[in-house]
């Protein structure tokens, strides 16, 4: 599995599409509202899936399916500590969950201003 991380609007998905030869139908955009389509090889906005799990009371985000080839996530853990309790919890859980994902990943790439940097 390849893991792509970076701030919002940095061009992570554009990078991943090119680097891992992904087509639109390969990509599932996670939301806080619904279960992801795990049959797709690329999950983007994985941090939203973390929020979905928090709301459901599970830690399923630690179980990354075998067929998942690319995980893309927004780095949401460098900013200000949020006042809202749920967002605060989400921020911290995202840090743990995405660190675990990066640990399992074959490669980790951070995208900054549209430019990739291999971290692992």
């Amino acid at each position: 599995m390849h893991f792509v991380i970076g701030g919002a609007w940095q061009g992570k998905l554009d990078y991943a599409k090119k680097a891992f030869d992904l087509k639109e139908e390969d990509i599932f955009r996670c939301t806080a509202e619904a279960e992801p389509d795990f049959s797709r090889p690329c999950l983007t906005h994985y941090e939203q899936y973390v929020l979905y799990c928090i709301r459901k009371g599970t830690q399923d985000y630690y179980n990354i399916p075998e067929n998942c080839k690319v995980i893309i996530a927004d780095d949401i853990f460098c900013g200000v500590v949020p006042i809202d309790e749920e967002i605060r919890l989400w921020r911290e859980e995202s840090g743990r969950a995405l660190t675990a994902a990066a640990e399992k990943a074959e490669t980790v790439t951070r995208v900054f201003c549209g430019l990739p940097k291999r971290l692992k």
Partner: protein, 179 residues
């Protein structure tokens, strides 16, 4: 040569950018600081004072250009080295003009930045990394963040060197520094 620096606030971006601009200006053509901040309160005045103090003696000629960036380029100075500090302030000025919100500002600023970069010999751009928050802000702020990201990406594409500055340490994403 064109360079883009981004990173967190008060992490040493400006000082590094100044040093790079000074180094680039050794080939001649003059050294120019584009002052983008339009002061709104005492805090801004203090910030400007600090920047002026830090720049003193480095040989910059200050050009006041809070909006319409390419207007500061003339036939006389185009061969020079310019420091634009910061893209963030430039976008703010264009996006929130006299209390009026201008949604088309990011497109205009991207165009202005690319026009400006094409006209001048050397330029160092400073931006701010404001993309790693968990909280979502009001729609104006979110559009501002997205707009600044567009400016950064457009600059990163055309710049020879792109680096992130974190607590004074440099991570290069592209090219080399002229130091």
């Amino acid at each position: 040569m064109k360079i883009l620096f981004s990173g967190g606030c008060k992490n040493g971006k400006s000082t590094l950018a100044e040093d790079c601009a000074v180094a680039l200006s050794r080939s001649g053509g003059g050294l120019y600081y584009i002052a983008t901040m339009i002061p709104h309160d005492d805090e801004d005045e203090l910030r400007i004072k600090r920047h002026l103090h830090n720049r003193a003696g480095k040989g910059f000629t200050t050009l006041e250009q809070g909006v319409n960036l390419p207007d500061c380029v003339t036939k006389e100075n185009a061969k020079g080295s310019f420091l634009l500090d910061s893209v963030t302030a430039l976008l703010t000025n264009e996006m929130y003009h006299d209390g009026i919100y201008e949604p088309a500002a990011p497109d205009k600023v991207v165009k202005d930045l690319l026009d400006f970069a094409a006209k001048v010999e050397n330029a160092v751009f400073v931006s701010d990394f404001i993309y790693a928050d968990a909280d979502r802000y009001n729609e104006f702020t979110e559009e501002y963040r997205e707009g600044l990201a567009r400016c950064d990406k457009a600059l990163a594409e055309i710049c020879d060197t792109v680096a992130e500055v974190c607590t004074g340490c440099i991570t290069l994403y592209k090219g080399e520094l002229p130091l």
